[in-house]
Subunit: 352 residues, 2 copies
Amino acid sequence: MSKQEKTIDNKEWYLARYSPDGIPSSDHLKLRSSVLSLADLPHGHYALETLFVSLDPYLRSRLTGSDDGLYSPQFQLDQVITAFGIGRVVASNDGKFNEGDIVIHPFLPVAEYNVFPSSDFVARKLEADPAIPLPDVLGCLGVPGFAAWIAIEILACPKEGSNVFISAAAGGVGMYAGQLAKLRGCRVVGSTGSDDKVDLLKREFGYDDAFNYKKETDYDTTLSKYFPDGIDVYLDNVGGRMLEAVLRHVNRYARIPLCGMISQYNQVWTEREGVRNLLNAVGKEVRMEGFLLGSYLDRFGEFTTQMGNYLKEGKIKSKNKMYVGIEGFLEGLQSLFCSSNTGKVVLQVKEQ
Amino acid sequence: MSKQEKTIDNKEWYLARYSPDGIPSSDHLKLRSSVLSLADLPHGHYALETLFVSLDPYLRSRLTGSDDGLYSPQFQLDQVITAFGIGRVVASNDGKFNEGDIVIHPFLPVAEYNVFPSSDFVARKLEADPAIPLPDVLGCLGVPGFAAWIAIEILACPKEGSNVFISAAAGGVGMYAGQLAKLRGCRVVGSTGSDDKVDLLKREFGYDDAFNYKKETDYDTTLSKYFPDGIDVYLDNVGGRMLEAVLRHVNRYARIPLCGMISQYNQVWTEREGVRNLLNAVGKEVRMEGFLLGSYLDRFGEFTTQMGNYLKEGKIKSKNKMYVGIEGFLEGLQSLFCSSNTGKVVLQVKEQ
C-alpha cells in the first residue's frame, strides 16, 4: 500500500438510538463514513482491515438501553458497535503485529478499518490453519462453537444413549451442539423454523430427527412424539413456551444449559412469556444453568484443539450464512431474529 | 399389654377425593375407624403405635390426582396417607423389633396403629439420643433439616460473607437453612408472612435481617433495600413472583437451590405465575437446581452427625409447632399453606 492510499474512507456502524423491543432497524443502527489516515500511525499502533465479523444473538442484548443484568454492558450512543471479528494488518508501527498478519479480536469495532494500540491485550495473532477457512474460525472455533462445546461437554455431559433436545438447532450454536452430542453417542432431536432447515439438520448435521416448531405448534404433543422416553438434556436457545413444554417432558436429573433465549430478546421482560411450571424442576431434580463464554476461557485451548480436530476430520460440519460488505451488517443481524438464517451468520467485510 | 387389650379401635386418615387446586379440606381427607387385632400378629410382623408424624409441604403434591412429574407418585383413593413418622413397637412376632423399640418410618401410614412386616427395609430402629427430643428427629434431623442441609452444604456452598436470601424462612426448611448459612459466616436475610415471624427470625434464629412479604409487597424495591450488594444464594421455597424478583437482584454465579414452591402448590400449573425473566439466569450465569432428598441418601450419615452435633451444642435452634391427636392431621397440613405456622409442623399422635 503506497503512501497516497493511506487516507481511507472508512465506513462504520454506530448506535443512533437504543432499541428496547422489536427487531433493531436502521432507526437504531446507522452506517456513517469517517476519514482514517494510515500514513502516520502513532508508535505502538497498528491498522487492521476487517475481513469477517461474527453476528451473534447476544449483540441484541447490548442494544436495549437498560442494563438488566444481561451479558456485557450496553453499547453507548453514537459509538461504533463491536463484535467478534477477524482482520488483516495493513499498516503497523510496532513489532508485535506485522503487515499481513491475521488478527482475531473479540471486540472489533464494526468498521472497515480500525487503528489499535498493540498493547491491547484482547487482540491476538491468528496462526491460521490452511485447513480451516476463516469464517469457521468465527463459527466452529468461535463464539457459537465455544458456546456449544461448553453446553454439551462441560455442563450437560450427556451419556451415550441420552435423549438430547436442541432448540434453534440450525442456528450457530445448535448446529455444533447437536453434532457434539451425536459424537457422544446421544439421540439428538432439534427444533427449527422451516422444513428446509428440518431437512438440513437430518441430512447434513446428522440429527436423528427434527421438527418445524412453526408447524408443530402444540409443543407438548410434539415433544411427546419426538421424545417418547423423555428428555435428558435440553440446550435452551429460545426460552419461553418451549422451555415450559420441555419441563413437562424432562427425565430425572435432566440438565438444561441456558445458552440464550432468542424468543425473548426483542421484548421487554415484563411482556415476556413466563415459565409457569418451574416446580417440575424440583420434582425432576433438574439443573438449569446459564453461562457466558468469558467464564470458561481457561478451557478455550482444550476446546480449539478438540473442535479443530473434529472439523479437519470431517466429524463436525460447518455451515455459514454470509452477508457481504460492511453495508450487510444490519440485515445479517436482523436475520438472527427472523428465523431466516441457517448456520452461523458471518459478515464478510473484505475479500480475503 | 394384655391379650384383652389387643383388639384396638384404630383411626386413620385416607384420601376420599383428589384435590387438584386450593387447600385440601375434609372433602378430600377423611378420618375413619377400623378395628385392628394385635393378638395374633403373623410371624415376622410387628405392630407400631404412632407417636409423631412429620407434616411437610411435599405431601400436597401427592394429593392432586395428576402425576405431572412432581415428587413421589400420587396417593391412591381410599388408601391411607403416608408420611415420615416415628412410632413405638407395641407388639412383635419377630426378633428384629422388640416391644418398646422406637422405629422411624419414611412412609408411615397416618394411623394410630400399623402392622408391618419386619422385612420392610425402609423402617429402622432409632437409637434414641436422650439429648435430642423425638420431634427434632423429624425436624432438624428429618425431612426439613436434611433439605436445608442439602441446599446449603451441597448445592449452594456459600462462602463467608455471601449474601443469602431464604424465603418461607420461618418454615421447617428455612429455619434450619438460615442457621446453617450463618454458621458458614454468611449474611442471611429471610422473608416470612408475619411481623411476629420476622422478630422470631432475627431474635431466635440469628438472621441478620428479615421482612414480612405481605407488607413489603413490591419485591423488587424490597430486595434492593435488603440486598444492596445483590444476592449470591437464594433458597427458593416459594417460586412465582419472588423468584422472578430475585432474578433481578442476583449476582454473577448465584446459586438457587429449588427446594419447593409453596406459593404454587395449590394451583394447577397453567394458572401459576410464570417467571418471565429467566434470561437473567443466562446473563448472570445462575445455577438453579431442583432436588429431592432421596437422591442424597448417601450423605444422610454425614448430615445427621453434623446436625446432631450442632443441635446438641446449641448452634442450631429448633422450633416445632405441634398439633396433638390423630384428629389434628388435616389442620396441621392446612397450616403449611396458610402462612400460619412457625417452625416445623409435627403431629403428635400419642404421648411419648
